[in-house]
């Protein structure tokens, strides 16, 4: 008996001979792949960095989240409406919280450190930007401080690969 979770949170179970096969979640209807064994509980990094209280500004979250921007300016001008088709927008803050990760474009980074300085969770965002690796740190709140404050447009939100379905 294999026990696992769907991305919607519903607990699912399948018999051992169904390992690796595709099935449908009885909760949300999404297609899932049955894992080969019951997965270990996810491991959170043991060291929790200190929160930097001076930099956490909740008022910025709603106004600057990508979802809010694109909804507000959808019918404003050709730059933004034509651009809307190009961007990986999110429909809601909640979607961003659950599905997004911060992805750097290291070619643009000048290592100024504004991103790391403003991270409320103390993540080394600058280090990720230097190496060009997406932030998989489970401490990341997708609060968008780093994305918005970067003066060079290095950071953006993208959907986690697990949520991008191939047709």
């Amino acid at each position: 008996m294999i026990k696992f979770h769907c991305v919607c949170g519903k607990k699912l179970k399948a018999s051992d001979d169904q390992a690796g096969r595709r099935a449908q979640c009885s909760g949300c209807g999404i297609e899932v792949v049955v894992p080969t064994t019951t997965p270990e509980p996810s491991v959170v990094e043991s060291k929790l960095p200190a929160i930097n209280p001076t930099s956490f500004a909740p008022s910025l979250l709603v106004a600057n989240s990508p979802g809010a921007i694109f909804q507000a300016t959808a019918d404003r001008s050709s730059i933004l409406s034509a651009g809307k088709t190009l961007s990986a927008g999110f429909d809601s803050r909640r979607q961003m919280l659950s599905e997004a990760q911060v992805v750097p474009d290291s070619a643009r980074c000048v290592q100024c450190g504004i991103c790391s300085h403003n991270c409320p969770m103390g993540i080394d965002v600058r280090g990720h930007a230097r190496r060009g690796t997406a932030i998989h740190d489970s401490h990341c709140l997708t609060c968008s401080e780093c994305v918005n404050r970067c003066p060079r447009g290095v950071l953006r939100f993208e959907q986690l690969a697990v949520f991008v379905w191939e047709n």
């Binding site: 690796g20 096969r21 595709r22 404003r76 001008s77 050709s78 730059i79 933004l80 409406s81 034509a82 651009g83 809307k84 088709t85 190009l86 961007s87 474009d105 070619a107 643009r108 980074c109 000048v110 290592q111 100024c112 450190g113 504004i114 790391s116 300085h117 600058r126 230097r130 404050r149 003066p151 060079r152 447009g153 290095v154 191939e166």
Partner: protein, 448 residues
């Protein structure tokens, strides 16, 4: 026999070279000679230090443990001369340093102003951390400051001084800001925002002389005869590569130290990287200077690899930069400018000479408030772009330009311009993206 690598300069080119050499050759000794004694820092970040966005300690880009693992010998000295035959450097303090492989990563330095009084205390530039610290110490509430020059550095200085609560006057020799890269609309957007921030901008104003008392600046006189009080004069009229060491040693020097695509200078075992290097295109013989951090980084990696015996070729990509002008994020890619700029004697930091090479190209512009997209194109491809404000178009245009995507299918739509041009381009870009992705995607597996 382990090799002795010597690097002159502690900027990003020198650091990247040291890191690359260490990755390839764990046994050789790596010495880094520099006039600066600071830990490695982000030079572009100095603008944000001036503005107060980050404290000084945030500028340092490597942990002490990372530096220790490089096993670097840091020598704090200025290099006076280079003896190519003897493979030896002589420092100003008399020290002599022998090398097997040498990298010149001496960078660029701000061109000093030429008017009388230019050496008074209070006349400042922004090259490195020492300059930034000097400016921070000298900035005083409500004292008058004047900024001259153009390009990105002038605004970094002006906005930094404004953030320090000085009364900032920006003197432009010409009629508008950065006239050889921005067009009139873009200059106007920037200048309006600067005025809104509280800056006093004067066009067609040139300084004739600076006056001081007890060696400290007190006022400037304009060409028009006006005397204006001034306690800090920030100058950003261009930079020049620091080629003196190379030139005196007999290396080939044009605008910078001439290097080939392996970043080798024209003497054995000598390389150059970063702002000081001028890479000559082997096919065309052409070159253009870039004073850009990511390019200096790349130079350092490639020079370091070649020094350590692993051959790597530098392939010039389209020069671009993303910066903030009066708080507006602005992407500049490829050949998008041209014409004259009276405020700059030479290229300034954060720029590429190749930006000014826009020949008779078609242009598409679109504007909404302070969001602006401008692109230059010819029959076959988009050759340059400028995106101000909303940055949605930044990456798509960068992709199209860098990959030299053939835009002839939509060329007529671009020529007709206006709103439809960008919409057509958006659809074209999406199709191109999908075509590229499906070409590299592996075959999808059948359902079980």
């Amino acid at each position: 026999m382990p090799l002795r690598y010597v690097i002159v300069g502690s900027g990003i080119a020198g650091l990247s070279a040291a890191e690359t050499i260490r990755q390839i050759d764990p046994h050789g000794s790596v010495a880094l000679v520099s006039e600066e004694s600071h830990r490695f820092y982000s030079r572009p970040g100095l603008a944000y230090l001036l503005r107060g966005d980050i404290p000084q300690w945030q500028l340092f880009i490597r942990e002490p443990a990372e530096i220790k693992s490089l096993r670097l010998e840091r020598i704090n000295a200025g290099v006076a001369s280079l003896d190519l035959a003897a493979h030896q450097l002589t420092c100003f303090d008399g020290r002599q340093i022998v090398y097997d492989r040498l990298l010149l990563a001496t960078g660029a330095v701000a061109i000093p102003p030429s008017f009388p009084g230019a050496n008074l205390v209070g006349v400042v530039k922004l090259d490195g951390l020492d300059d930034a610290q000097r400016i921070l110490r000298a900035a005083r509430w409500r004292r008058p400051a004047i900024v001259v020059g153009g390009g990105i550095t002038a605004l970094e200085l002006a906005e930094g001084l404004l953030a320090r609560k000085m009364r900032v006057n920006y003197f432009l020799r010409g009629k508008r800001y950065w006239s050889d890269v921005l067009d009139e609309t873009e200059s106007e957007i920037v200048m309006q925002r600067l005025r809104h921030e509280g800056m006093n901008i004067r066009t067609e104003t040139q300084i004739k002389q600076a006056y001081g008392s007890r060696g400290r600046i007190q006022a400037v006189e304009t060409q028009g005869g006006e005397m204006i009080p001034c306690r800090l004069l920030a100058v950003a009229i261009g930079v020049r590569p620091r080629v003196e060491l190379a030139a005196a040693a007999g290396l080939s020097v044009r605008k910078g130290v001439v290097v080939n695509e392996r970043l080798q200078a024209d003497a054995p075992d000598v390389f150059a990287a970063g702002d000081v290097a001028e890479v000559i295109d082997t096919q065309t013989g052409a070159s253009s200077l870039d004073v850009l951090w990511p390019i200096a980084l790349r130079h350092g990696q490639i020079a370091g690899a070649n020094m350590a015996g692993q051959e790597m070729i530098y392939r010039k990509e389209t020069s671009f930069n993303v910066t903030q002008l009066a708080g507006l994020k602005t992407t500049i890619i490829g050949a998008i400018g041209g014409g004259k700029n009276e405020d700059l004697l030479a290229i300034t930091r954060g720029e590429s000479e190749s930006w000014r090479a826009a020949p008779n190209a078609g242009t598409v512009t679109a504007r909404h408030n302070t969001d602006r997209v401008r692109l230059a194109f010819d029959q076959r491809q988009i050759i340059g772009a400028l995106v101000m404000g909303d940055q949605t178009w930044s990456r798509p245009l960068h992709d199209l330009i860098d990959h030299r995507v053939n835009i002839s299918p939509i060329h007529s739509a671009l020529v007709s311009g206006g709103n439809t041009a960008l919409e057509q381009l958006g659809k074209f870009y999406q199709q191109w993206q999908q075509a590229v992705q499906s070409a590299s995607k592996p075959m999808s597996l059948p359902r079980s």
